[in-house]
């Protein structure tokens, strides 16, 4: 299926407006998955400061938490993780062949639920950050 010439935006993300629910679910799932992998590496880096000394670890955590950007990123991390979990459950059902005709609705539901959880978490994460 090689292209004999460049057909422009047919093949690429330029058509994102035409994507359907299942496609968006796939894109968000991939994206959140990669973000979580990236986070795991930084997480290990932070945790490994505890191998030097307890105070070193405490200092690192305090230093990080004093940055406003880190507080905001934590909200983002929660958003990504919650969506990945909920959509993962949705994919489990898809794999089991349960409710495939409602797959778009379950995607919207996972979006709404993760949005609700993230908004509810904002006061906790951002308290005293600004």
């Amino acid at each position: 299926m090689s292209q004999s010439y460049d057909r422009g935006t047919i093949e690429d993300f330029g058509r994102w407006k035409e994507f359907s629910a299942g496609m968006w679910a796939w894109i968000f799932h991939k994206f959140s998955g990669w973000v979580l992998i990236g986070y795991l590496f930084t997480h290990i880096a932070v945790l490994s400061t505890a191998t030097q000394s307890g105070t070193m670890y405490t200092q690192t955590i305090r230093g990080l938490e004093s940055l406003a950007i880190v507080r905001v990123l934590e909200v983002g991390l929660l958003a990504v993780a919650v969506f990945h979990i909920l959509n993962g459950v949705r994919l489990l059902f898809v794999d089991l062949g349960v409710g495939l005709e409602a797959q778009d609705k379950s995607f919207y539901a996972s979006l709404v639920v993760s949005a609700a959880i993230v908004i509810a978490s904002v006061p906790t994460f951002l308290a005293g950050a600004f």
């Binding site: 299926m1 090689s2 292209q3 004999s4 010439y5 057909r7 047919i10 093949e11 058509r15 407006k17 035409e18 359907s20 629910a21 299942g22 496609m23 679910a25 796939w26 994919l91 898809v94 794999d95 089991l96 062949g97 495939l100 005709e101 797959q103 778009d104």
Partner: protein, 299 residues
Amino acid sequence: MSTEIKEKETETETEAETEPAESSHKTRRMEQKRQRAAQRDLEEEAREEVDEAEETVEIKVFRFDPEVAGKEEPRFDTFHVPFFKGMTVLDALIYARDHYDSSLTFRHSCRQAICGSDALFVNGTQCLGCKTQIADLEDHLDSTIRIEPLPHQEVVKDLVVDMEHFYDQMEAVEPFFDADELPDGELEEQRQDRENREKIKMSTRCIWCGACMSSCNIAAGDNEYLGPAAINKAYRFAMDEREGEDRKQQRLNIIEQEHGVWRCQTQFSCTEVCPKDIPLTDHIQELKREAVKNNLKFW
């Protein structure tokens, strides 16, 4: 109109037979002239019809012809077509071809969504031209309808794509009924019970139009991937109870390979675009489970 041309054609044939050398040029010239005149008439007619019509639609059609100089560069042509109730995308294309540009090329045959030859990319979605009502397209009267050939397939000309790869994938799953266990008596029937028929019912409806394959992101990136249509075909026969265990095993061996069912990432694009409403993802997922059951043995 058509009968008139036919009459003249037979006339010129007899003429050419009597004095072949000289008049063939003449008749050809005459023929071309007549065709041009007919073309002008049709365009005139179309213009009048467009003026008279209460509603018109504007279609923007992808054009490409590698064999004609000046047309190798892909471009879009816009045609104004009078709208009538019940008009499909294919009707609009046929009107444009018959009245404006007879070189506009697209496949079509039965016009009732069963031959599967006119899968097109309309306003960014794969669909059958003959099954897609223009009235169903979003703001069809205000904006242009964009008609393109199927993505992820090589364009031969205008809206015609090369389906060879799709057919290869379809044939790879051996899409034919092949009963290995025949009933004993010579005149005995091969029976299928109602539940089984109901189970495979939707999967039998595939018309090989290739819309699903074209919509599939994975198939676009992986040429070896069987694609939704082929896997659906495999499902249709693997789930058919009239085929025996051995044959089902062979079918599972085909689809459970690396580029078989496991490439599917449940984006639901194929299910979304299938003009026959086949739950393709459903069938692929079921074959995945079959494949797992086939290989995982805990006892």
